[in-house]
């Protein structure tokens, strides 16, 4: 068993670890409430303006969206490996896995940036000067708000993983970071899970029609 410094408010290391895990899950619950209204707004539009939402969705880039989904799922695999490896003492392998996840996170953002640039040039950005019908503008308002909020979370996630990747190479006892990395991993996987739902509702609506 790895011994961690136990903060004064906890009696045991296990209690400290459980409190940290619970705290992160409670934070993720609030994050769910943060993303929730956008999903509700989407549900309203999908039910009330279904033709406009189908037309809007067909304007998105399904190839880049699908590639990005695969990238994010794979990054979660690397983060899960990093967490499991560090708990077993394999800190070098954990660092490699973290760097791989960071690289994929940056690749995701780069592809999203290319998509945004294309969307902008195709005149999909909603607003006063937009030539799109109002219903499609509503779809693209949600598209940019949801993917933008997701990207902001991903940037924070990349920064956190980067901090761990650097720390693993510098601290005397890298394994002492394992409980914290586990909590950081929860955040990364949550951001991945949000994208899992964004992908079908933004990219795959009525593709067969």
């Amino acid at each position: 068993m790895i011994t961690l410094p136990v903060a004064p408010q906890f009696s045991t290391e296990i209690q400290q670890h459980r409190a940290a895990t619970l705290g992160m899950w409670v934070f993720l619950a609030t994050e769910l409430m943060f993303f929730g209204p956008l999903f509700l707004g989407y549900g309203y539009g999908r039910l009330h303006l279904s033709d406009a939402f189908a037309a809007g969705s067909r304007e998105t880039d399904v190839v880049l969206g699908t590639v990005n989904t695969g990238i994010l799922l794979t990054s979660s695999f690397f983060v899960a490996n990093a967490v499991d490896a560090l708990e077993r003492g394999a800190h070098r392998f954990a660092a490699i896995m973290l760097h791989a996840a960071i690289a994929l996170g940056i690749a995701f953002l780069a592809i999203k940036g290319i998509e945004y640039s294309n969307d902008w040039q195709e005149g999909l950005f909603p607003g006063a000067g937009s030539a799109l019908p109002k219903g499609e503008q509503y779809f693209f308002l949600l598209y940019f708000a949801m993917t933008g909020l997701h990207a902001a979370h991903l940037i924070i996630g990349i920064a956190i993983l980067l901090a761990f990747a650097v720390a693993l190479g510098r601290v005397a006892d890298p394994v002492s970071l394992s409980a914290r990395l586990r909590v950081a991993g929860l955040y990364w996987h949550f951001v991945d899970a949000v994208w899992i739902f964004l992908y079908p509702i933004l990219y795959l609506v009525e593709r067969s029609g």
Binding site: L28, G36, G70, F77, K134, G185, L204
Partner: protein
């Protein structure tokens, strides 16, 4: 301390299933299934999210308290969606009475009659 082997193989199996589900998701989207397209896609998304939560987020061996926290979060979101949906279900799609006539003339939301 002896190093135990990290469960890379198990994680790789989960990743393979996730990528297969992604392929099923994009493939089914191009079949003419009507409303079942959305049903299939949302079900696949839910299964993918569940796999991530249970295996990658370690809900499988989490304490009852943590599992309850995750369940309560989803339950609360469902309650809030339900309450809001009853409002939208029973609200007429009319423009607000204080809008200017000039605004109303331009307020055509797609095919809907706002």
């Amino acid at each position: 301390m002896k190093h135990r082997k990290p469960p890379v193989r198990r994680n790789a199996v989960i990743l393979a299933v996730l990528l297969l589900l992604l392929a099923a998701s994009v493939g089914s989207a191009y079949l003419r299934l009507g409303v079942w397209n959305s049903a299939a896609n949302l079900t696949i998304a839910a299964v993918k999210a569940l796999l991530v939560a249970v295996f990658f987020m370690h809900l499988r061996d989490a304490s009852a308290l943590v599992r309850m926290t995750a369940a309560v979060a989803l339950f609360m979101l469902a309650v809030l969606f339900g309450l809001s949906a009853t409002d939208y279900r029973n609200r007429a799609d009319d423009p607000a009475p204080w809008q200017m006539p000039r605004q109303l003339s331009g307020a055509q939301w797609g095919q809907s009659s706002w």
